[in-house]
Amino acid sequence: MSIIKMDRVTKTYNPGKPNEFAALSEISLDIPSGQCTILAGPSGSGKTTLLSLVGLMSRPSSGRITILGKETTLLAENFRTLFRRGHMGFIFQHFQLITDLTVKDNLDLVLYPDGRPFNAIRERRTSLLERFGLITKRAEKASVLSGGEQQRLAIARALMNNPEILLVDEPTAHLDTTLSQHVIALFEDLRNEGKTLIIASHDPLVLAGGLAERVIHLRDGRIIRQV
């Protein structure tokens, strides 16, 4: 069962301008549900662009993207965001935490726009903080956390809305080997829970482990090899 289907997707930045630049061209992909897919390739190969297209953070210049059976290409921005909120979690390369806010607030604000009951938010937050060993740090500012803790907080935040799909960009880029292995183990757990993972990474550590069911190699915006 494919959860994400891309059909001849092209993404061109600054179309029609002198600095026009095709980040992705003619990508067709099927990503099955409950699996971990790794996008590999050097930087500038289009991994992040592909993630942001799947994450509905930007629109393709042409082609179609169907997620969970929904054609998203022409969806209005409002509904794209709503869809992302409902089904997807994003873990960014630089964590992208709001460092001035506490650990707790960083998690809570994912669920604010829904207006869920406060108790529901607190329950969800507490269980995630416990799971990722951050419960003692819940009142600290995100800026004082160590790199590993920040990464775990970023993962916890992506899980707040209980998404089916997790999109991960360079999860080990800022971590040493031990921490990287720890994070990879976390992703394995998540995959075993049935989440669909798409990880963009060129870290051999990520590629080597038993995490990935499938590796897609990208170069210059094209798929060169699928394993």
Partner: protein
């Protein structure tokens, strides 16, 4: 010309409102010209963003317009001592042919902005931008009204002549007098009281019926009833609510009881009246939209049932506020006296 802090505030605030509306107007024009939901060009995305801007501006404008209406009334009241013959808001509105039009334009703007926000709310719930073009045209049509509001208001204050003798509420709302205000004031208090109570009862029962069996025709009837409720409600304020608040059978002024001397009681009467009739009429507009766009029917139905329900509650609040002084009078006099016959 009269120049004081409130006139200045009103003109500046209204200019700000008109300015942001000009931005909305320009963007609405752009949307109407270039809108294409099938396009994946950056232009379409840009237009989507612009429709978001318009929605923000209209929400703010509604807020500003509510302020503007209140401040206009307060300003007019504060100017009363400077114009011979004027004792309250009515005197100032009468002093210049533009007075009443400005007031009515401001009230109309409230309803028009409000309905736009209802449409926008509906449009935001359903994918596909079905109403975006309609909303844009709506706004384009609305813009001149806002500009006229500003210009008339400036003209009103600059042409307000402290040397011209005006007539005040005693004359405008004089029983047996001439003119529209007088004919409203001359309505038999007893009959108006009964008529308004009857209509309000219908408007209160309607939501219960509609909840059981909601039909489009029923909702349109409710909307029309709400519009009638607004008109009859204001007539009722002039005919009997105001005299009972003032405890003076001859004083029908619909403004004086907004002031502090009467504990701003007027706001308690007008707020539910306007809110209830606004939500009630919105129900009719939603039905009209459902007929044009059957795709929106399901979502629109939920929204309009909520409106019917809320406006029913607001009608009840209006009923209480309007008849409160009457009941207070009856209790105080033991139910035997008639304010309009005893002649307190």
């Amino acid at each position: 010309m009269i120049w004081n802090a409130w006139v200045l505030g009103l003109i500046i605030g209204q200019t700000a409102t008109a300015a942001i509306n000009a931005v909305a107007f320009a963007n609405a024009l752009r949307i109407v010209h270039n809108w294409d939901t099938r396009s994946t060009l950056p232009m379409q995305l840009d237009l989507e963003h612009r429709s978001e801007l318009i929605a923000t501006i209209v929400s703010c404008s509604l807020l500003f317009q509510v302020f503007s209406l209140m401040v206009f009334e307060i300003t007019a009241r504060s100017l009363a001592p400077f114009v011979p013959g004027a004792m309250c808001t009515v005197g100032i509105l009468e002093a210049q042919p533009l007075g009443w039009p400005v007031l009515f334009i401001k009230m109309a703007a409230l309803f028009l902005y409000g309905w736009w926000i209802v449409l926008n709310h509906l449009d935001n719930q359903v994918e596909g931008f079905l109403l975006t073009i309609l909303k844009s045209w709506y706004l384009i049509a609305l813009f001149p009204l806002i500009v006229i509001d500003l210009l008339l208001q400036i003209a009103f204050f600059t042409h307000l002549d402290p040397a011209v003798i005006t007539s005040c509420c005693g004359v405008v709302f004089e029983v047996e007098g001439e003119g529209f205000g007088s004919s409203v004031a001359s309505l038999s208090p007893k009959h108006t009281m009964l008529g308004l109570a009857g209509l309000l009862t219908v408007l209160l029962i309607f939501p219960l019926v509609l909840r059981r069996r909601s039909t489009q025709a029923g909702c349109i009837a409710y909307a029309l009833g709400s519009a009638a409720g607004l008109v009859l409600g204001i007539a009722g304020v002039v005919a009997f609510v105001a005299p009972y608040v003032y405890m003076m059978p001859a004083l029908h002024c619909p403004f004086i009881f907004l002031d502090e001397e009467h504990f701003n009681y007027g706001y308690l009467v007008y707020l539910p009246l306007f809110a209830a009739s606004f939500l009630g009429t919105s129900v009719g507009i939603l039905v009209a939209i459902e007929r044009r766009f059957p795709f929106l029917a399901a979502v629109s139905h939920t929204i309009r049932m909520r409106f019917v329900w809320t406006s029913g509650l607001l009608w009840a609040a209006f009923l209480a506020a309007a008849y409160g002084p009457v009941i207070k009078f009856l209790i105080a006099t033991g139910g035997t006296a008639d304010l309009f016959q005893v002649g307190y």
